[in-house]
């Protein structure tokens, strides 16, 4: 074989190895995606039981004239029990409990919310789809097996027979589970939603951006444009590159020790989480910003200086605007990274059970990744699909942010 043939054969082999490596990684990604989607898609559907609901004034503490606040505060537990009795006549006490377990524990809240939106319904009968309990939901979705001994089932034989009779009457149906997007966390999988965590992450990222972007931009401008290069800038440069590689848990410890320990900031709030994510993102922003400042041709600076602009004017009128696309791209990529970081959130306490949707950066909250972590710790099958659905949401946000970063660069970048 001639030497050229040998080299060509080597090239062919190399191409083949490359293809193989790529196919293999693609294969793993597909498996991961398939697993997440097949488990997670269930979270977007909820099993409901159709029932005639008579809003019996005898069981309701408020009237249609009551204020919204009063309606919100009143209890509807008796009304819920009454609805079950009406739809399943002749239950003894033991069976009543079994049937009650088939409906969501938040039955009363569902009734309350209906009254809040339709106060005139009191005294009338309405046909409503009531959410099933998570265990029933999982049976209907086929995630829990039916044909195993009763002791191994969460739904007993009696409940199964009721389920089948409801089903034959066409009372069982499935609806889109918008609760997943509008509710905070809950002990009951059927009512648990991601909005609280989403808002927590949103506020944390807002704080992260407001903290890290201006500081990162100014620091890089100062280092790139105003400081004479020398030993000190070299040391700073090395340190910044190092900080970008520091594991995020270290930043979490910094937040815990400094922000909470020394400055006495509260535990569990997006403010602290956001600041910690900001510390973490800062080196990324500085590195990206410095690179894009360096990309602005010196001739632009000279042009501005030559018409008598001060250094400050040159930098702020010309250099920064031209470097901004690169800086923003780096910032968005840094924030996408921050959005997925779990360890810092764990350390500053953004991983507790929080039902309320946070209204600001000072309210207790979880974040997307820590909520996923929380749910994944839960034994109930209902939370498993929430975990995967949460991951799907997180991945979508990451994809969106990274796409925006690419678009920003394409759209705004000046070509020289």
């Amino acid at each position: 074989m001639s030497s050229l043939e040998k080299r060509l054969a080597a090239e062919k082999r190399f191409k083949f190895y490359g293809m193989f490596a790529m196919t293999l990684s693609l294969f793993f990604v597909l498996i991961l995606m398939y697993k997440i989607f097949s488990t997670g898609s269930g979270a977007f559907v909820r099993t409901t039981i159709n029932a005639d609901v008579y809003f019996d004034p005898n069981f309701i503490e408020v009237s249609s004239n009551s204020s919204k606040k009063e309606i919100m505060k009143a209890s509807y537990v008796d009304l819920a029990d009454q609805v079950i009795n009406q739809n399943h006549p002749g239950l003894d006490e033991e069976n009543f409990i079994k049937v009650r377990e088939m409906y969501t524990r938040k039955f009363d809240y569902q009734l309350r919310d209906y009254i809040v939106n339709n106060p005139n319904v009191i005294g009338k009968t309405v046909n409503l789809d009531i959410s099933a309990s998570s265990d029933l939901d999982q049976i209907v979705k086929g995630n829990y097996p039916r044909n195993v001994p009763e002791a191994q089932r969460k739904i007993n034989d009696y409940q199964l027979s009721i389920l089948d009779s409801l089903d034959s009457k066409g009372k069982m149906s499935k609806t889109f589970n918008f609760w997943f997007f509008t509710n905070g966390d809950s002990r009951d999988p059927e009512t648990a939603g991601i909005l609280g965590a989403l808002m927590g992450s949103f506020y944390a990222l807002l704080i992260c951006f407001s903290f890290a972007f201006p500081i990162g931009l100014l620091a890089s401008v100062y280092l790139e444009e105003f400081v004479k290069p020398g030993k000190i800038t070299d040391i700073i440069e090395v340190n910044i590159n190092n900080l970008a590689a520091v594991p995020s848990i270290v930043y979490g410890l910094l937040g815990l020790g400094m922000l909470i320990g020394v400055f006495g900031m509260p535990y569990q709030v997006p403010l602290v989480g956001g600041l910690v994510l900001g510390f973490m993102t800062l080196p990324t922003i500085i590195i990206a910003s410095r690179a894009s400042l360096r990309g602005v041709p010196p001739s632009i600076r000279e042009g501005a200086l030559a018409v008598g602009a001060t250094k400050m004017q040159t930098v702020f009128h010309h250099v920064i605007p031209l470097s901004l696309p690169g800086t923003l791209t780096g910032t968005i990529i840094g924030m996408a990274q921050a959005l997925g970081e779990t360890a810092p959130l764990l350390l500053v306490g953004m991983v507790a059970f929080v039902m309320e949707i946070p209204g600001g950066a000072f309210d207790p909250a979880t974040g997307l990744p820590s909520q996923i972590y929380l749910w994944s710790e839960s034994a109930e099958r209902g939370f498993l699909e929430k975990t995967s659905a949460g991951i799907m949401l997180l991945l979508s946000f990451l994809i969106i942010m990274n796409t925006v970063a690419v678009l920003v660069r394409r759209k705004l970048e000046v070509k020289w």
């Binding site: 001739s299 042009g303 018409v307 008598g308 009128h317």
Partner: protein, 258 residues
């Protein structure tokens, strides 16, 4: 010695420039008569740009560059004196670079930028007038009057360079420094710039670095020949190109080295 003759826009003497330890200009003395064009010629690396950049203190930007010497503007202003603000100096001494370097902003903003930061115009109308007038003098107005809001980097190379000239004259300098302003341009664009220089010298003192002997003889009345950081010969352009005193000059203009 610097003589106090105010027919000179700029007088320099005993100029030494070092980049670090390396000498770039060695004891140069050169005066620039008002409203005339002076060419700086010489082989590559002889220090023409370095010397030119001393005149509006652009060398200040380069950390390792060390400038010494006497520089007098209009016979009495020492431009390196600590009382002189470099921004006001550059308002009086404008510069056009070898490679056209318009800001990636609109044509209008390019020209308006200087007047804006120096507060030259008191109203939007006046600013519009200055922009229009500067583009006129730079011979660009007719070509761009309908697209003042287009981004300047979309212009042709020659147009960009004339825009840079318009940008330089918009702040009404007394002196315009040009560092090989045509080296990136084709012959037609070059001819336009040369015509422009001939018109501009009515109102401005122009100092131009060029590699083209023919350009130097077409546009300038005085020529200075540099070699290895030294000013070898200075005189009337006609004389330098026909019967120079120094052999080195003769060798250079007849193309024997450089």
């Amino acid at each position: 010695m610097v003589d106090q003759n105010s027919n000179y826009a700029l007088q320099t003497s005993e100029v030494y420039v070092h980049y670090g330890k390396k000498m770039a200009i060695n004891n140069v003395a050169l005066n620039f008569p008002k409203n005339e064009v002076t060419s700086l010629i010489g082989p590559s690396g002889c220090g023409k740009s370095t010397f030119l950049r001393c005149l509006n203190r652009m060398n200040d930007v380069i950390d390792i560059c060390n400038v010494k010497g006497k520089f007098l503007l209009n016979g009495n202003v020492d431009i390196y004196s600590p009382d002189i603000q470099v921004e006001t100096l550059r308002e009086k001494v404008g510069m056009v670079f070898q490679k056209p370097n318009p800001f990636p902003k609109t044509i209008y903003d390019n020209v308006a930028y200087g007047p804006k930061i120096h507060g030259i115009a008191s109203s939007q109308n006046e600013l519009d007038e200055i922009v229009k007038d500067s583009l006129h003098r730079a011979g660009l107005y007719e070509e761009v009057k309908d697209r003042m809001d287009d981004i300047a980097t979309g212009l042709s190379g020659g147009q960009q360079q004339r825009l840079c000239i318009a940008r330089a004259i918009a702040i009404r300098p007394e002196i315009i420094l040009m560092d090989e302003p045509c080296s990136a341009l084709d012959p037609i664009a070059t001819a336009k710039i040369e015509d422009l220089i001939n018109e501009l010298k009515e109102n401005y003192t122009i100092i131009i670095v060029t590699h083209s002997m023919s350009q130097a003889s077409r546009v300038s009345s005085k020529t200075a020949f540099f070699h290895l950081g030294n000013l070898v010969e200075y005189g009337e352009t006609g004389k330098i190109f026909t019967k120079p005193d120094k052999e080195q000059t003769n060798d250079y203009i007849t193309g024997r080295f450089g």
